[in-house]
């Protein structure tokens, strides 16, 4: 019974995620693709839920939807890109790109399809364990991550900010 529901949901997610991601790619208007992305991210969060990773779901929603996506939309607004009518969405050589991607998929498929796993699946996850692990064993990566974020911050500011003497270099 449980199996069947899982099956159904799995199929749903598969189809919907694919459609959504494709929507991100094909939609004419950038805002539209941003919204497709939003829904896509939410679905991914839901998939996490199915994989007994509630914490990840939360993070996914907070960071991506709350952070990244907002960033995207801001960026789009800042650039206020005027969408001329019937502008080309794809590059000239899109066919070759498509083929390359499909080949890649095919390759992945060839070995992904028969991956076996051990029987004992992850029981309900507890966040405290995650936290403990994060702050004891994975302390070093955590610190490095802080540096990564710092660099991202600084870099983002450096490159994106408008300085008074930008003009004279134009």
């Amino acid at each position: 019974m449980n199996q069947i529901i899982e099956q159904i949901f799995y199929i749903y997610f598969f189809i919907s995620l694919s459609i959504l991601s494709i929507g991100v790619i094909v939609s004419k208007n950038i805002i539209h693709s941003a919204f497709f992305l939003l829904i896509f991210l939410l679905h991914v969060a839901a998939v996490f839920l199915f994989l007994n990773a509630e914490f990840l779901m939360i993070i996914q929603i907070i960071v991506y939807v709350g952070g990244v996506l907002a960033l995207f939309i801001f960026a789009i607004m800042v650039m206020n890109i005027k969408e001329e009518l019937r502008h080309k969405r794809f590059v000239r050589f899109s066919i070759s790109g498509l083929i390359a991607g499909l080949l890649f998929l095919g390759i992945l498929y060839t070995f992904v399809k028969d991956v076996r796993s051990s029987e004992n699946v992850l029981s309900t996850s507890d966040v405290t364990l995650l936290g403990k692990l994060l702050y004891s064993y994975y302390l070093l990566p955590f610190e490095i991550l802080s540096l990564v974020l710092l660099v991202a911050l600084v870099g983002g500011i450096i490159i994106a900010r408008k300085t008074p003497f930008d003009k004279e270099f134009k």
Binding site: Q7, Y10, L17, S18, S21, V24, I25, I30, L37, F40, L41, V44, V47, N52, A53, L56, I59, V63, Y64, G67, V68, L71, F72, A75, I76, V78, M79, R89, F90, V91, R92, S94, G97, L98, A100, G101, L102, L105, L108, Y109, V112, K113, V115, R116, S117, S118, N120, V121, L122, S125, L130, L133, L134, Y138, L145, V148, L149, G155, I159, A160
Partner: protein, 99 residues
Amino acid sequence: MSLSGYLLLSATLFSIGLIGFLIRRDLIVMLMCLEIMFNAVNIAFASFSYYNANLIGQIFVLFSIAVAASEAVIGLAIVLAVVRNTGINHSDDIANLRG
């Protein structure tokens, strides 16, 4: 539902993101495709951690989310600079350096 199913899902999404990255002209959409790819990888991590009963995967997902976010920041900043500077926001218009 089996591990291979979820891996298949992630592979599919990854490839779709890749295709999008390869064929779409708008820089911002390309960044979005990058995000899609990262998410695909996250799904793979999560599914591994689920089916192998091992939390490290989830931790990795945390980190990769953060990295993806910071990548997005830098990427957007660069794209912003480009658009500010040259008014170009299409990938195939950026081809002055070649040969």
